[in-house]
C-alpha cells in the first residue's frame, strides 16, 4: 500500500470520528458553550433583568469592591480550601491504614466508600441536618447548636470529599513499588522515613489531583451551601441563584457567574495539568498488606474506621433514624398525589435523561478515541456548575425556560460525561490484540464491535450509566431554574418542605430523602454489583472513583 493509501485509511477513520462526534458536539455547543458565551457577554456588558425588576449597574469588578460580595467570594474560596486541608489531614492516614492493613471486611469498607458518590447532594445536606440541625441526633445529645455556623457546610463537604481522598489515596498507595520500599528500609530508612522519602513522592501527585477536584466541587457546590450555609455562610452559587430567582437581577448574577467561570476554569486547568502527569507504572510489585500487629496498629485501624463511620456513614443513618422517628402519619404522606407526581417525574425525567446520556456518552467516547481535545471536551459539563449551566440556558433561551425538552436536555448534558468517561476508560483498557484476533477470525469492524468490544465494555458502560442515573435522580439546581411547578421532582419537593415552617414539614423532608436515597442506593448497587464473570479489560477502581467523584463536581 502506498503512503497515500495509508493516509486514506486514516482519513476514513477521521471521517467516522467526525460523524460520531456530531450529536454530542451539537449538544455541547447548544446546551453548554453557547449559553456560557451568552452569560459571558451579559457579564461584560452588565444590564439584563426580568421585566419589573429594579435596575442596577454593576461593573465587572463589583464583586471585588462590594464588602458583602467580596465576603461571599472569599468565603466560597475559604470553605473549599478548609475542606481540602481537612480532607487531606484525615484522608492520608485513613488511606494508609486501608491500603496497608488486611482485615475482615476491608473489601466491603472500600465498596461502601463509593456510597457518598451516589447520594444526592440534597440528601447529604439533610443527613447533616439530621445530625446537627434542630432536634438533631448529635446536637440534641451534646447540647450544641451549630445552626448559622460554618461547621454544617464543612461537615457536608467532608461527607462527600473525605471518601474521595481516601479512595484516591488507597489506589495511589497500591501503585507504590514494594521493592523500592524494601530497598529504602535495607539502606537504613525507618518506616516513617521510608514513607516520606519513597511512598509520599509516589502518591503525592494523585492526592494533589484529588484535592484539586475537592476544591472544585466545594467551590462550585450549590445544594449543600443552599441548605447548610444559611444566610451568612452561603456561597457564590447560592448568591447567583438568589439574584436570579428572588431578586430577578440577571445582569448582577451574570457578573458573579462570569467570575465563577473564570475561577473554576482556572482550577479545572490546574487539575488537567496535574492529571496529565499521572501515569501508573506498568509493572510494579505492590506492597503486601499485613494484619494489624500489636495494640497500636489495632487502635489505628479502629480509629480510622470510627472516623469514616462518623463522617461518611452517620449522616446517611441519621436520615433513616429521623424518618423512622417521623411516624406512620408522615410516611403516609408518600401516598399524597403531590409526592406520587414528584416520584413519577423523578423517574421519567431520570429515565429519559439516562437514555439520552447513554447515547451521547457512547458516541462521545467512540469519537474521542482519535482526538485528545475531543476527549477533554467531555470534562466541560463537569467543570461548569449546574447553576451556571441553568442560568446560561435561561439567558440564551428565555422563551424556552419552562420547556420540558430543554429541561431534559440539560439533565442529559450534565449526566452524559459519566458515560463518556467510563466508556473512554474502558476503550483505553481494551487490549488491541483481542480486537485484532476477532478481525483475523473473520469479523468485520461492525461485527467486532457488537461481538467483542461491546460485551467487554459492558461493565464500564454499566458503571457510567449508574453514575449518570444517580446524577439525574439527584438533580436539583437545573430543576430549580428551569422547571415548572407541575414538574416538581423529589429533590425540589424536599427543598419545598425544608422551606415550610414546622417540625412536620421537616419530618416529611426526611421521609422523602429516605425515598430518594433508596433510589440512589439502587444506582449504587448497579455500580458495585458483584460481576459473576471476569471481563478482563474493565477500567480500574481508580478510574471508577474518578468517574464517581465528578458526579458532584
Amino acid at each position: 500500500m502506498t503512503g497515500s493509501a495509508s493516509r486514506s485509511v486514516r482519513g476514513a477513520g477521521s471521517r467516522i470520528s467526525l460523524w460520531l462526534a456530531l450529536l454530542p458536539a451539537a449538544a455541547l455547543l447548544l446546551l453548554l458553550i453557547a449559553p456560557l458565551g451568552r452569560l459571558a457577554v451579559t457579564g461584560f456588558t452588565g444590564e439584563a433583568s426580568w421585566p419589573g425588576a429594579a435596575s442596577s449597574s454593576w461593573t465587572l469588578w463589583t464583586p471585588w469592591q462590594d464588602d458583602y460580595l467580596r465576603w461571599r467570594v472569599l468565603w466560597s474560596l475559604a470553605q473549599a480550601a478548609i475542606t481540602c486541608v481537612l480532607a487531606f489531614v484525615l484522608g492520608l492516614p485513613l488511606a494508609w491504614v486501608l491500603a496497608r492493613f488486611d482485615f475482615a471486611g476491608r473489601a466491603l469498607v472500600l465498596r461502601l466508600l463509593m456510597l457518598p458518590f451516589v447520594v444526592p447532594t440534597l440528601v447529604a445536606a439533610l443527613g447533616v441536618l439530621a445530625l446537627w440541625g434542630p432536634r438533631g441526633l448529635l446536637s440534641g445529645w451534646l447540647g450544641v447548636n451549630l445552626q448559622d455556623t460554618p461547621w454544617l457546610l464543612l461537615y457536608g463537604n467532608l461527607f462527600f470529599n473525605l471518601c474521595l481522598v481516601v479512595r484516591a489515596g488507597v489506589d495511589a498507595l497500591g501503585q507504590v513499588n514494594a521493592r523500592q520500599v524494601a530497598a529504602a528500609r535495607s539502606l537504613g530508612a525507618t518506616p516513617w522515613r521510608a514513607f516520606w522519602r519513597i511512598e509520599w513522592p509516589a502518591i503525592a501527585p494523585w492526592l494533589m489531583s484529588s484535592l484539586c477536584l475537592v476544591f472544585l466541587y466545594c467551590f462550585s457546590g450549590f445544594g449543600l451551601a443552599l441548605v447548610l450555609g444559611g444566610q451568612r455562610f452561603a456561597t457564590v452559587e447560592v448568591e447567583i441563584y438568589t439574584l436570579v430567582a428572588h431578586e430577578l437581577q440577571l445582569g448582577q448574577a451574570s457578573v458573579l457567574a462570569l467570575w465563577m467561570l473564570v475561577l473554576t476554569g482556572s482550577i479545572a486547568l490546574l487539575y488537567a495539568l496535574l492529571e496529565k502527569r499521572l501515569a501508573a507504572p506498568s509493572r510494579i510489585e505492590p506492597v503486601l498488606r499485613q494484619a494489624p500487629q500489636g495494640v497500636a496498629q489495632w487502635l489505628a485501624l479502629l480509629a480510622a474506621l470510627a472516623v469514616l463511620f462518623f463522617i461518611c456513614a452517620l449522616p446517611v443513618l441519621a436520615i433513616v433514624w429521623r424518618a423512622v422517628q417521623a411516624g406512620w402519619a408522615t410516611w403516609a404522606t408518600l401516598l399524597d398525589a403531590e409526592v406520587r407526581a414528584a416520584l413519577w417525574n423523578t423517574l421519567r425525567f431520570s429515565a429519559t435523561a439516562l437514555a439520552l446520556a447513554t447515547l451521547l456518552g457512547v458516541l462521545h467516547a467512540l469519537a474521542a478515541q482519535r482526538s485528545v481535545p475531543w476527549r477533554a471536551a467531555a470534562f466541560l459539563p463537569f467543570v461548569v456548575s449546574p447553576v451556571t449551566v441553568a442560568f446560561g440556558l435561561l439567558l440564551l433561551y428565555p422563551g424556552w425556560t419552562a420547556s420540558l425538552p430543554l429541561l431534559l436536555a440539560a439533565y442529559a448534558v450534565l449526566a452524559y460525561p459519566f458515560v463518556a468517561k467510563a466508556m473512554a476508560a474502558g476503550l483505553d483498557s481494551l487490549p488491541p490484540q483481542v480486537l485484532h484476533a476477532a478481525r483475523t477470525l473473520g469479523a468485520s469492524p461492525q461485527r467486532t464491535f457488537w461481538r467483542v468490544t461491546l460485551p467487554l465494555l459492558r461493565p464500564a458502560l454499566r458503571r457510567g450509566m449508574a453514575f449518570a442515573a444517580a446524577t439525574a435522580l439527584g438533580e436539583f439546581a437545573v430543576t430549580l431554574f428551569l422547571s415548572r411547578p407541575e414538574w416538581s421532582t423529589l429533590t425540589t419537593l424536599i427543598y419545598q418542605r425544608l422551606g415550610h415552617p414546622g417540625a412536620a414539614s421537616l419530618d416529611q423532608a426526611f421521609v422523602l430523602a429516605c425515598l430518594l436515597m433508596l433510589l440512589a442506593l439502587l444506582a449504587f448497587l448497579l455500580i458495585e454489583w458483584p460481576v459473576a464473570e471476569r471481563a478482563a479489560p474493565s477500567p480500574s477502581l481508580a478510574s471508577a472513583v474518578g468517574v464517581g467523584v465528578l458526579r458532584h463536581a
Binding site: 500500500m1 502506498t2 503512503g3 493509501a5 495509508s6 485509511v9 487490549p431 490484540q433 483481542v434 485484532h436 484476533a437 476477532a438 478481525r439 483475523t440 477470525l441 473473520g442 469479523a443 468485520s444 461485527r447 461481538r451 467483542v452 460485551p455 467487554l456 459492558r458 464473570e533 471476569r534 471481563a535 478482563a536 479489560p537
Partner: protein
C-alpha cells in the same frame, strides 16, 4: 503461496522495514527472528491486514491482497498473550471464527467441541478462559485459529509467555498440527532454538532488512 514484495514501513521518521521480500509455500513453516523492536510484529500485522504498509504489496496465490481487509483474508494470527475473548467460554472462543463464516451457532459449537476433544480440552468447554493454565490457553488459541481452516497461519511469539518445559512440549504438538493442516506458516520469534525446532526455513530481521539464516 504467500508473498511479500518490497514491503516498507516507518516508525515515526525511522525506517522500520525496508524492501522486505519473502515467500512462504503451502505446508512450509518459516521462522522470522529478530530482536525486540526490530519490526517483526509490525510485519506480521501488515501480512494479517491489520496495518497498511507504507510501500510494497502482499500477495497470496498470485493475487494482490494488500488492500483486502483482515476479515476477508482468512489469515489466522496467534498472539503472544493468546488474545482469547474473556467474555466467552472456551467452546465459544473456538467457535467464534466459524460463526463469523456464517455457520449456524449449533453447528459451529459442535465443531468447536470436536476440535477441543482432539486437543484434550473437551472437559474445559464450558469454562471461562481464565480458568485454564497458560499451556491450555495457548492450545485453545491454536484450536480457534485452525478450526477456521485458515489459508495462512501467523504466529507472533506464541510460546514466550510459557515456561520452558511446556514450551518444548507445545512446540512439538503445534508443529504436528500445523503440518497436518498444510498451511503456509510464518512464525515470529526471538528464540533461535524455537525456530530450529519448528521451522523449515529461517530469516532474521536486522536494521529493517531480512537476511536468510538457513
Amino acid at each position: 503461496m504467500l508473498e511479500l514484495r518490497h514491503i516498507s514501513q516507518n516508525y515515526g521518521d525511522k525506517a522500520l522495514l525496508q524492501d522486505i521480500n519473502l515467500s512462504v509455500n503451502a505446508g512450509e513453516i518459516v521462522a522470522m527472528l529478530g530482536s525486540s523492536g526490530s519490526g517483526k510484529s509490525t510485519l506480521l500485522n501488515i501480512v494479517a491486514g491489520l496495518q497498511p504498509p507504507l510501500g510494497g504489496s502482499v500477495w497470496f496465490e498470485g493475487r494482490d491482497i494488500t488492500h483486502m481487509p483482515p476479515e476477508q483474508r482468512r489469515f489466522a494470527l496467534m498472539f503472544q498473550d493468546f488474545a482469547l475473548f474473556p467474555h466467552l467460554n472456551v467452546r465459544d472462543n473456538v467457535a467464534f471464527g466459524l460463526i463469523e463464516q456464517k455457520q449456524g451457532k449449533a453447528s459451529a459449537r459442535a465443531k468447536a467441541l470436536a476440535m477441543l476433544e482432539l486437543l484434550g480440552l473437551a472437559g474445559h468447554a464450558r469454562h471461562k478462559v481464565w480458568h485454564l493454565s497458560g499451556g491450555e490457553q495457548q492450545r485453545v488459541a491454536l484450536a480457534r485459529a485452525l478450526i477456521t481452516q485458515p489459508r495462512v497461519l501467523l504466529l507472533d511469539e506464541p510460546f514466550s509467555a510459557l515456561d520452558a518445559d511446556l514450551r518444548a512440549s507445545l512446540r512439538a504438538e503445534f508443529k504436528t498440527r500445523i503440518l497436518a493442516a498444510g498451511v503456509p506458516t510464518l512464525l515470529v520469534t526471538h528464540d533461535e532454538a524455537e525456530a530450529r525446532a519448528m521451522a523449515d526455513r529461517a530469516v532474521r530481521l536486522v536494521d529493517g532488512r531480512l537476511e536468510a539464516l538457513w
